[in-house]
Symmetry: C2
Subunit: 250 residues, 2 copies
Amino acid sequence: MKNAKQAPSLSVQIADAIRAAIVEGALLVGDRLPSEAELAEQHGVSRATVREALKRLAAQSLIRTERGAFGGAFINHLSYDEARPQQVTTSTLLLGMNAVSFQVACEARYALERSCTSLAAERRTDALLDTMRSEIARQSDPDLTDEAFCASDVAFHRALVDSAANEVLSYHLAGSVEAMQPLMNMITFTARSRAEIVRLHHQIVTALVERRSNQIDEALTALEHYTITLGQTVMQRRRTDGMSKDGLTS
Amino acid sequence: MKNAKQAPSLSVQIADAIRAAIVEGALLVGDRLPSEAELAEQHGVSRATVREALKRLAAQSLIRTERGAFGGAFINHLSYDEARPQQVTTSTLLLGMNAVSFQVACEARYALERSCTSLAAERRTDALLDTMRSEIARQSDPDLTDEAFCASDVAFHRALVDSAANEVLSYHLAGSVEAMQPLMNMITFTARSRAEIVRLHHQIVTALVERRSNQIDEALTALEHYTITLGQTVMQRRRTDGMSKDGLTS
DNA sequence: AGACAATTAAATGTCTGACAAATGAAAAAT
DNA sequence: ATTTTTCATTTGTCAGACATTTAATTGTCT
């Protein structure tokens, strides 16, 4: 039996206890935790241990600390804007570390993205349509680097999901869409492939204007298949090119 | 100008630096970081400060620490199973802290869940179908508490999304589905409403067996509208009942 | 009385030095 | 050859100290 699974460290235990109190609602947004010295006394540990526990919670944005008199650790208001970057980081690492094939990642991403089409067609605004149009214009610039093209692509799709006017939906979809960017950055976009993508983006905007959610679905599906094709070419070349240690440099 | 935005603390800076190295791929899974003493020397800070930085990274599951002679901090393999609970916690808190209406949350959840229907119809397995059937059986037990009914409901829907046989998709959808549980737990499920939900669950299983993804969509949409109706009743009663301080006790 | 400056108290951020506990490797004993 | 012991390394924890930040308080001058 090597699975003895020793007890977690004190700082983990304390962090877990406070986290549970937050999740259960015993501690509300804006509430102040006792000072580090008080927490140390309450839990019978040193201040250093309490601090490590608090840093764990701060890393999850559950608390925020302020210095000075009347400072301390406060239960943080977790906003979607704050949570998004963390989710993107996690999703990106998950994709990178788990031998997920490009195809599986793409399949998930577009399946998820299609969940916004119905609401987007219903609620699209002129402002977001303009954003999408201007991103298409940028993508048509032949001098754009591949990386900038990808960034604009992400911006386009974020505008699409934001068109659904549902914050919760936007949060989940943004994570899924942005996490793909590092994978997309491996692709070399030729003039021909860029033209095809721009064409499908145009199709999406048109369908959105005309509130035809089915056509958005279709364009996204076409985009999915086209992207998978592009991706497989890259992956194949990488494999035959003989597994140079890293997957990022030329 | 009160937005001076003072420099982040040293432990934050160090954590950010290491995190960047991980995300950029400079540090690979399994790599060992220098010992705390070495990191302290390298960054010109004390060991306590380095430790706080490492605890931040550990809280995000980016590293794992081992004690003993050849121990230290190792780049963690971030698995979907590890990341899921964290995502659920975050999603749950986001829902609870952001005055998201029950309707908006439900709308997002079911829109996302419908993104699995096509793949699920294509790939469903007998094992997961059996899981879904047994959860339906449990839900039909009139002695079940409301909380257990909710838990079974979540298990049912997780089996549905897992039927799509796409790990990435399951990850995102599980977060969205499970985050709703605290909100669902506020609902009192009458015998009549339970029967209606079970009926729709049956419909989903049947559609899945017959690979009719459209019918799964329809059942999910019906479930969405029915749940919103139930939820609004609860929210209304809560409002007229005169805002007793907490939203959890009877 | 009111405006401005200095003081003070409370809290986090950081440092130092120490010891405990775990753990694998090497050395010693059988 | 195998088992036991020792040992060095590293994380976990503690205690105490000082630096820094911040808001409230107090003091002073007009």
